[in-house]
Amino acid sequence: MQRRFPAAWSLAAAGLVFLLFWTIDAHAQQPDFTGVWTTYNEPGAAGGGGGRGGGPPLPMTDAAKQKVEKYQALVKPTGDTPGGYCLGTGMPGSMLGSGGYPMEIHQRPEQIMIVYEAHSEIRRVYLGDRMVPEGDRLPGRNGYSNGRWEGNTLVVETTNLIEQVDQRYAHSSKAKIVERYHLEKGAKGETVLVAEMTMTDPEFYTAPVTSVKKWAKVPNGHLLPYECAEENWIKRLEQLENKAAGKK
């Protein structure tokens, strides 16, 4: 009986070592997306973000068409956009271009942070135990994102979105967006991050909507700060100064 304990401990230790190496190996296999990325255009292809731009007609439901047309009729005469009022693009526009501005990714095993320079939009992709329970998630323009690895591909599922008719890929709060990220080599041998997006939305679409976005790595790249609401504050100060000076 006493002899079994050392054997059991040895087995357990061996198992732990195996698990440790297996885990390290599994992480070592996953690509590192950390860095600054900017829109990659295939040689000869036109540029563009894809966030709010044009494109082929989408398989929209009639109800969704009505909502989008109502919105377009409202803003088309003036050309107003959410960005003009310092509102971030939201998903999927943020990942499909974010207005042509770069993005930065910070990758850890349990969480990936994506910062889009425009409007300093931030997405957090949670993996493994970091995932937030469904009832505790707060809906928003970029939603809530869970991630998992399928070999060298990062699969991100985004839900808990709010309805957004102000995007190229308008959607309801029932939308689910799946992104599949992997690395490729570009035409000049540069590192390219490819994001394949599929959005399903029973309220807005009769079929899945897909798009592909490619990002080129910016060696030693830096994001710039993007303050946007400063203008409001400057105007308010001018109002207060005018009031103090007895002006209207």
Partner: protein
């Protein structure tokens, strides 16, 4: 191409700003016009820079209000802090308003020190292409 990207970025993220601003659809981005004047106000700000120039031309002497690219886009196109100050005489290259009135969307500028930033003209793009091909 840089011009196209900058304009696309500006339109997508900004498009139009607060009520005091013009809407992007009012600008004629197929045309470029140069305007020279003395800076009365300049704020490098997002989503659009703000500029007031005191201009003297055949229409007379007056202040003209402009807007332009975001600070971030201007930075990437060569702008750096304090390049433009109140009192400087500068030239801006603008997409004019479609209705022909004063003002426009600044796509490039020539500062008082002679530094140019912003979108390159077609002639400059062509010159760079020839240089890259070793023809000039």
């Amino acid at each position: 191409m840089r011009f196209i990207v900058l304009v696309a970025a500006a339109l997508v993220t900004g498009g139009a700003s607060l009520a005091a601003h013009h809407s992007a659809i009012q600008f004629d981005f197929t045309n470029t016009k140069a305007v020279t004047g003395v800076v009365k106000k300049f704020i490098a700000i997002n989503p659009h820079m703000q500029l007031v120039l005191h201009v003297k031309d055949e229409k007379g002497e007056r202040d003209i209000e402009f807007e332009g690219h975001s600070t971030n886009n201007m930075y990437r196109a060569g702008y750096r802090d304090n390049m433009i100050k109140v009192g400087d005489t500068i030239t801006v290259y603008i997409a004019p308003l479609k209705d022909g009135s004063d003002g426009g969307y600044v796509t490039a500028a020539l500062t008082a020190s002679g530094t140019r930033f912003g979108a390159r003209s077609r002639a400059e793009v062509e010159q760079e292409r020839l240089k890259a091909e070793g023809k000039k």
